[in-house]
């Protein structure tokens, strides 16, 4: 058992945690930023697929990974804007609209890829580019720690740097305060002159940007190609992480890391002759378990609050 644990907890395992957490963290920031504004963006999964494909195609056309990334992220934001239009203007139920977007993306990406390359479901015919890994000077030289923290994809660093930025935006900037006000009580926000809809549009666009980063990371960092349905539930894990972290950026990051650890662990356990199907269940199982624990806690808190306020009365 000790040997097994030693085999698992190596520097490369911790390196892998950051690698697999990256898309989940981006997705959970995407979920957080729209959640805060009172909108559940179920479409993150689909947005990831759209940007993953766009990134691959554009980078193959221009032979520049960066332009692939930028266009991928913009296209994702545009689709998120479309989602916002249907929800805010045409009053489509946001969950159904998000699911529709996911269905559209799942088939639409395969369709577009087939039309462009004649290939069904994988982009190996395209000579697409990958975003670079970054070696951090100094830290790189430290034994173990360097191995864990250095030589990650540039988007991995952007993901973790985004966490304090989102925190600063939400808690130190007037716009962030307005976002939170809308989420807490849209009527009150409206009564003090906040343009609720306009800011909700903005929130969904920002959410689309983060979802786009998650997507381009999948096809231009995590692996170097597009394959159908490659988001594989990570968008939904992001939603779960945002819910678990109560939309507090640093807690959400911890929740995303938790999913990342489960994911990385499942890759390692596979080498221990545990049936791969059982191993693949782990991240999802953990999601349900943690979501339940979280719900039980907040349920108790709520119950306490109710009894207190009843006593006050």
């Amino acid at each position: 058992m000790v040997k097994v644990l030693q085999g698992i907890f190596t520097a490369s395992f911790f390196h892998a945690i950051f690698r697999v957490t990256t898309p989940i963290l981006f997705a959970s920031l995407a979920a957080l930023i729209s959640d805060v504004c009172g909108i559940v963006n179920v479409g993150i999964e689909g947005l990831m697929l759209i940007s993953a494909l766009t990134g691959v195609v554009i980078s193959a056309l221009t032979q520049s990974a960066w332009s692939g990334m930028i266009v991928g992220v913009i296209v994702s934001a545009l689709f998120s804007l479309l989602l916002a239009y249907f929800h805010l203007k045409l009053k489509t139920n946001i969950i159904l609209a998000g699911i529709a977007l996911n269905l559209m993306a799942s088939g639409g990406t395969v369709f577009v890829l087939a039309v462009l390359t004649g290939q069904k479901g994988v982009s190996t015919a395209l000579n697409s580019r990958v975003l670079p890994d970054i070696r951090i000077p100094f830290i790189d030289k430290i034994p173990i720690l360097g191995e864990i923290l250095s030589n990650h994809n540039v988007l991995t660093y952007i993901a973790f740097i985004s966490v304090p930025l989102v925190w600063y935006f939400m808690y130190r900037m007037p716009l962030g305060l307005r976002f939170r006000t809308i989420g807490e009580n849209p009527e009150a926000a409206r009564s003090v002159g906040i343009h609720v809809h306009r800011l909700q549009y903005l929130a969904l666009v920002l959410s689309g940007l983060f979802a786009g980063l998650a997507g381009v990371y999948m096809s231009m960092g995590y692996v170097s190609w597009f394959v159908r349905d490659m988001a594989a539930g990570r968008g939904f894990m992001g939603l779960a992480a945002a819910a678990m972290g109560g939309n507090k950026p640093f807690l959400v990051m911890l929740a995303a890391l938790l999913f990342g650890i489960a994911d990385a662990l499942s890759n390692y356990l596979q080498s221990l002759r545990i049936p791969s199907e059982i191993v693949h269940m782990i991240p999802y199982l953990i999601t349900v378990v943690f979501l339940t624990i979280y719900a039980i806690f907040s349920h108790h808190k709520k119950m306490k609050k109710i009894t207190f306020s009843a006593d006050d009365a």
Binding site: T92, A97, M104, E277, A295
Partner: protein, 349 residues
Amino acid sequence: MKKIQVFDILRILIALLIAFFIGFIIILLVSEEPLYAFKLFLVGPFSSLRRIGNLVEMTIPLIFTGLAVAVAFEAGQFNIGAEGQFFFGAALATILGIIFKIPAILHVPLALLGGIVGGGLVGAIPGLLKAKWQVNELVSSLMLNFIFLHFSLYLVNNHFRDVHTGIMASWKIEETAWLKQFIPGTRIHVGVFISIIMVIFTYYFLYRTKWGYALRMTGINKDFAIYSGINVASVIIYSQVISGALAGLGGAIEILGIHHRFQWQALPGYGFDGMIIAIMAKNNPAFIPIASLFLAYIRKGAEVMNMMSDVPAEVVNIIQAIIIFFVTAEAFLSKYQHKLVVKEVTTNG
């Protein structure tokens, strides 16, 4: 019929028209022979007895997941788990079909029961979690899809895998567990009658029983339901269990009627299809078969087009998404709807 109902139907038809129009534009953009491709899409499904047969075969599982989602929607619950319920129901039915060697009169009901219990169990989990601790059923039922996807694959691939075939598939189920295919030249099987029975059952349950009434009240206004003494927690649980059982039964019937062995390695998508169907049918069980047939029709059309022209079948996913967008868009044509309501009220009053 009231004008408002006519309006509802009209609204769905307009949504379909818009979706088809956009689909046509896309075909126009990508195809060398767009008119031929579009014609294949529209009339392809009726071009041979086998294809008409396919249409009916494809409709059967859709009816089950459509009913499953409709029941959950009516209770105000999001059952995104129909996918996993269908899958697990199919896996359990397969296993029961393989291990038992008993006469058909017992074997078929046993395997079907396996599907019902399997789906119902998977449905019970998000129901219980929601009723007891307010765990968001959207996320939990979604995660359960992936959990039961892998769990079912674990069971089938590790314990019931047919080692003689080159592909990953289970052993064939015993012939005593097959649902008979009764129209030569097609694979239409007796599951079609079971699906009709379930449509009637679901309709009766929702609109003619006390439980159905409580369920619908909870869906319309949860607080009102609580104040009028309805046990909302139990409604949430039994609506999810019934919903899951319907989806699981659908999975079992698909195995016993069509495939006779378990060979899916990924979620086949029937759960989300059920959602599209429930939306088009406005959760009314009576309309579910029509909506299912329609979905099967555009799928088959896309398949024929894919086979005989240069347009990939996945264009149909885009069309489906547009249908959902417009059918569920409450503000779409709402000014006209408002006018109609006013008119109706003033003429009646």
